[in-house]
Structures are given as structure tokens and as C-alpha cells.
């Protein structure tokens, strides 16, 4: 098994790969590219907001960012610190009651891509954000479902961004399934609208699946990362694509936008 050489820099070009991107920058850039051409994205705070904002400036200029709090088409003057930050409301295109947000926008099928995080993910893209241990008396009580279950069930596809790819978070068996992918939903007799998790961006690479019946498969790694590394960091026997790509590192232009326009205060680009 070999690692691909780093892509050749286009000398002097504004879009040349940049040196010294942090892990956060790497994840935000990779996730932003995956939003190419999308219409609507349901984003949480942090990396998803960075990715969506960057995509808005690059590959998806028509992208409408929708927040769980009911904000549609936010144009914040500052980087928001929560999904309900006052700066998201002032200057937004619409602020909807939650019943409309969850009922018509999300369940109605208007979200192309939803970003979700989780404490645990399994090979089918099921997510746990509820507990470590038993629900009744957990070792660690996590925040729970919030709207994640609804995003999973109703967005056309789900992107997951995980800062740390470890066997504990990429687990063979979830302690609790908070947000089930389509396979579990179908087993429960109900067909969800979307494909569930289609992309998982991690500090090691990219896992993908197309929808129900498919498991996550390693399709790309960051430069310098080997397939074996990813396999060892995964708690199940990881499926690997026939050809594993090397992810193009952030370009100078992407990093400049991210650092100067999207998060100049380095709130999330830690």
C-alpha cells in the first residue's frame, strides 16, 4: 500500500495548496467542497458553520443556511457563537417559529444536506448523542437528541464531521442509538426521506456511503495518512474503496477566505 504524493502546487497561483493548515481548517475546507451546488444546508455551530460559510463564498454561492433555531438565510455581521446567536437574526432573510422549521422546512423535505455531530457513529451511519453506558444510569449523560433525529430522518443526506477519528467514536456497537440511519428506520417499518449519513469527514480522511443497505467505506485520506491508520482508528472492520483518493489540501484561496472572511476572530479555527 502506498501513499500518494502531495499534489503538485501550481506555482504562484492563488489557489495553490497552502502549507500549515490546521486540523479544523482541513475539516472545514473538505466539508465545504462537499456542498458544491447544494441549495439548502442545515448547520450547527462550529465546523459546520465554517464549512457552510466557506461554501457560500466558493462552490455554492446560492446556498441558504438554515439553523435549528428557525433562522433561514442568515447574513451575520459577526461569526455566530450559538445557533441562536442574535447576530444570526439581525439581517436574516426569515426567522421561523420552531413548528414551521421542524414541520415544514425539515420534515417537509427542504433540506439538501444536514450536518450532524455525535459521540459515536457505527458502520451504517447511526449516531449516538445521548449516553455513554446504559440510558437508565449512564456513565456519561450527553445532551441527547435535540433536533438531530429529525435532521437524520428528513434531510436528503447527512454530513458528519468528527475532529478525532478513534475506535471509541467509530464503534461497532452504539451504546444508544439516538439518530438512526435509514436501515434501522426500515427495520422499524418506516421509510425515511433521505439517505442518512453519506459523508464522514475526519482528521484522517473521508468515509462515504450512498444510502440504505450500504455501509460506510473509506474513499479518501488526507495527505500522509495511510489506509491502515484509518483502519486501526475504526472500531469495526472498515470497508475500503477499490481506489482510495488523497484529499486535495486546502488551497491558499480557501484558507484566506476562511481566515480572513469567515472566522477572522479564530473562534472555531483553533
Amino acid at each position: 500500500m502506498t501513499t500518494a504524493p502531495p499534489p503538485a502546487a501550481a506555482p504562484g497561483a492563488a489557489d495553490a495548496p497552502a502549507a500549515g493548515a490546521t486540523s479544523s481548517e482541513l475539516l472545514a475546507v473538505v466539508a465545504s467542497r462537499a456542498l458544491a451546488g447544494r441549495r439548502t444546508v442545515f448547520a450547527g455551530i462550529g465546523l459546520p458553520t465554517l464549512a457552510a460559510s466557506l461554501a457560500h463564498l466558493t462552490v455554492a454561492p446560492g446556498l441558504e443556511i438554515v439553523y435549528e433555531s428557525g433562522v433561514c438565510g442568515a447574513h451575520p455581521a459577526q461569526l455566530p457563537e450559538t445557533i441562536a446567536d442574535a447576530v444570526l437574526i439581525t439581517g436574516a432573510e426569515a426567522v421561523l417559529p420552531m413548528a414551521t422549521l421542524f414541520g415544514a422546512v425539515l420534515q417537509g423535505g427542504h433540506i439538501d444536506v444536514g450536518f450532524l455531530g455525535a459521540a459515536q457513529i457505527d458502520r451504517w451511519g447511526n449516531l449516538n448523542s445521548s449516553v455513554i453506558g446504559e440510558w437508565e444510569r449512564p456513565q456519561v449523560r450527553l445532551p441527547g437528541a435535540g433536533g438531530a433525529m429529525e435532521v437524520m430522518a428528513n434531510a436528503r443526506e447527512i454530513f458528519v464531521v468528527m475532529r478525532r477519528h478513534t475506535p471509541r467514536s467509530f464503534t461497532a456497537e452504539l451504546d444508544f442509538c439516538t439518530s438512526p440511519g435509514p436501515d434501522r428506520a426500515l427495520a422499524d417499518g418506516i421509510r425515511p426521506l433521505g439517505s442518512g449519513v453519506t459523508r464522514v469527514v475526519t482528521d484522517l480522511g473521508l468515509l462515504e456511503r450512498a444510502g440504505a443497505g450500504e455501509e460506510l467505506r473509506l474513499t479518501a485520506v488526507h495527505p500522509g495518512v495511510t489506509v491502515d491508520q484509518v483502519r486501526e482508528a475504526t472500531g469495526w472492520e472498515l470497508a475500503v474503496a477499490d481506489e482510495v483518493a488523497v484529499i486535495e489540501p486546502p488551497s491558499a484561496a480557501e484558507l484566506r477566505l476562511l481566515r480572513e472572511d469567515v472566522d477572522p476572530g479564530r473562534v472555531y479555527l483553533r
Binding site: A4, D15, V59, G62, E93, G108, V246
Partner: protein, 339 residues
């Protein structure tokens, strides 16, 4: 799982590559959804479609109905809570095969002549009629908007309507009722029109639509539809919309076209823009009572006008003398900005 031990690491990577990125400027224009009424109807209304026109007394999308008549669409299913003058006109225009409604009358001003001829005498042809109550229609729009198989409501028990409308059904609640016994409730199915037209005071070019005064069921009717056309008194700059995002009743993602059509709600009203033409409502009972007179009215006011601008121009004096309204400002609220 197949053996992947020696999967080659390749550069076949379907993410957008850095060099494919568009120029990194905010200059990329957002999608402009403005269309003429003619183009909007041509694009979004086809023979046999299910067409919803909503607006409860306020902001009735009359001009959209007239353009559908002008373009001689046929075999439409029309969905509208209060089937009133515009529906009577569409019936007379021969556009409508089936009506889904919860009120078929000319407001409190009288009757709908064409509708009554169609229903009472199948003259000139029968009208398929699917009848609900107002709340039933509201729930159908909500179910349609929310992609639900049904919604329950506390109506219909003991009514004769379920006997003539098999879509009205009962469900047993999985929770015990107040007396501990199983509880039944009626449900309605969703409605998902091919296209919904609403009229509104203003929108931006992206489709963010603001309504004040009666907001009715417009948001639900738009969200329930496969396509939505918003007809507005004014197209305004983004900044006007974004100064007051709570006023946005329909966000851009739910809108496919924005049509600028001042006075397009006549004879209904647009709060703050023009008043209801009550005299016309009263006269409609007389016009529509006589099939010939109704045809003559259509010839003059719909077929005889190229578009709604021409219709409105014929009424310019009437608008000025009878339908103009004075000012009553809302006051402002402060959304605040971070210092």
C-alpha cells in the same frame, strides 16, 4: 465485505478541486426568481394540474386566476378554501374539472352563478366537488407541508360530510381517552398541489415574501405545493426584507417564482395598499347569475385585456376614488446589533 487490503490509493477524487472553484468574490449573484405572470403560468400550470390559489378574503391571487383563464388551461383541479369570485371566473373560463374547497360562496355578498349552475344543473357540465370544512382544509395544507400521511382534528363527528367525502376517516388514538377508554378522532389526508399561487404585499428577488394583516394559510399552502409562485404588489431590495425577518411568512427556499403584479388581488384587498371592492363583490352575484353576462364580462375584463396591468389600468379611476387607503404605520422594533 470484500477484501480491500490492496486498494490502490488514487487521485480519483470527486470533490470539487481547488482549481475548479469559482472566483472567490461575493459578486456571484443570488438566484433571481422574478418572472412575468404570463411566463409563470406558462411554466408552472399545465392542463390537468392541481392548482392551489390561497388567500382568505385578503390577498386573493385573482390576477393569477385570470392569466390561467387567458392561457385557456383545461381540466384543472382547483384547491381553495373559500371558492369565491376568482373560482367562479375560472369555472366560467372552462378551466376547472374538479374543486376542492370548504366554502363555495360570494363571501356575504351573494352567490356564485357559474358554480351553482355547474353543481345544481351540471350546466354546461358537471363539477367534481370534494368538500371539507375550513379547519379540515387548513389541516390538509399542514399535512401536505409537513409531509405527513394525515392530521387529526376535532371536526366531522356526526356531520353528513364524511358520508359524501370518503377522504374523511377515523383513527383510534393509541393513548387512552379522558374516560380511560379508546378515543377516536377524524383525520384528513395531505394535499400537495402541483403549484400554489399566493398574493403578497412584497418580496425580494430571491423569493423571501412578507405579508401583514391577515396571513391566512398562505405559508402552509406554499410549503404543501411542489412549486410555488408568489405574486406581489412590490418587489423590494433585500435590505427591506432583511430589516424585519420576522415579517417573512414564506422564505426563499419555498418559492420558485416571484411575479410583480400591482393590484393583482382585486377585487379583494391588500392591507395598506388598497381596499376591498365591496361594490364589485355585490355586483358579481348579478353578473354571474346570467351566463351570457358572465361571458361578456370575461370577454371584456380577462380575454379582452392582455395582462393584469391592462385590467388594472381600466380600473385606475375606481382605485383612486374608491379603493385608496390612508396611512397607519406599524411602528418599528429594534433587532439590535452587536457592538
Amino acid at each position: 465485505m470484500r477484501d480491500v487490503e490492496d486498494a490502490p490509493v488514487a487521485r480519483r477524487f470527486r470533490f470539487v478541486r481547488a482549481e475548479e472553484l469559482p472566483a472567490v468574490e461575493r459578486s456571484v449573484a443570488p438566484p433571481d426568481k422574478t418572472l412575468s405572470m404570463r411566463d409563470a403560468v406558462a411554466a408552472f400550470v399545465h392542463d390537468g394540474d392541481t392548482v392551489c390559489l390561497e388567500g382568505f378574503t385578503h390577498l386573493i391571487p385573482t390576477a393569477a386566476g385570470h392569466e390561467i383563464i387567458r392561457q385557456r388551461r383545461r381540466d384543472l383541479t382547483v384547491v381553495r378554501m373559500t371558492a369565491d369570485i376568482v373560482v367562479d371566473q375560472m369555472l366560467a373560463g372552462g378551466c376547472v374539472k374538479r374543486l376542492v374547497s370548504s366554502f363555495v360562496g360570494n363571501s356575504s355578498a351573494g352567490s356564485l352563478g357559474e358554480l351553482r349552475r355547474r353543481i345544481e344543473r351540471a350546466d354546461p357540465e358537471p363539477l367534481e366537488f370534494e368538500e371539507y370544512s375550513h379547519h379540515g382544509m387548513v389541516c390538509r395544507y399542514q399535512a401536505g407541508a409537513q409531509r405527513l400521511p394525515f392530521l387529526p382534528l376535532r371536526s366531522y363527528a356526526g356531520s353528513d360530510l364524511p358520508g359524501v367525502n370518503p377522504a374523511l376517516r377515523k383513527v383510534t388514538s393509541p393513548y387512552p381517552g379522558p374516560d380511560g377508554e379508546p378515543e377516536q378522532i377524524y383525520v384528513v389526508p395531505p394535499v400537495n398541489p402541483d403549484v400554489t399561487f399566493i398574493h403578497a404585499q412584497r418580496a425580494d428577488r430571491l423569493g423571501n415574501t412578507q405579508i401583514w394583516g391577515l396571513t391566512g394559510v398562505q405559508a402552509e399552502a406554499v410549503y404543501a405545493a411542489k412549486r410555488a409562485v408568489v405574486v406581489v404588489e412590490e418587489i423590494v431590495d433585500d435590505e427591506v426584507i432583511r430589516a424585519d425577518p420576522n415579517r417573512t411568512v414564506v422564505p426563499a427556499h419555498a418559492v420558485d417564482a416571484v411575479v410583480h403584479c400591482p393590484r393583482g388581488a382585486h377585487p379583494s384587498f391588500a392591507q395598506g395598499y388598497y381596499d376591498r371592492d365591496n361594490a364589485f363583490y355585490r355586483s358579481w352575484s348579478h353578473i354571474s347569475k346570467d351566463a351570457e353576462r358572465l361571458r361578456a364580462w370575461l370577454d371584456e375584463w380577462v380575454y379582452g385585456t392582455r395582462d393584469h396591468a391592462e385590467y388594472a389600468a381600466k380600473l385606475a379611476d375606481h382605485f383612486r376614488d374608491h379603493l385608496a387607503v390612508g396611512e397607519a404605520l406599524s411602528g418599528q422594533v429594534d433587532y439590535g446589533r452587536r457592538l
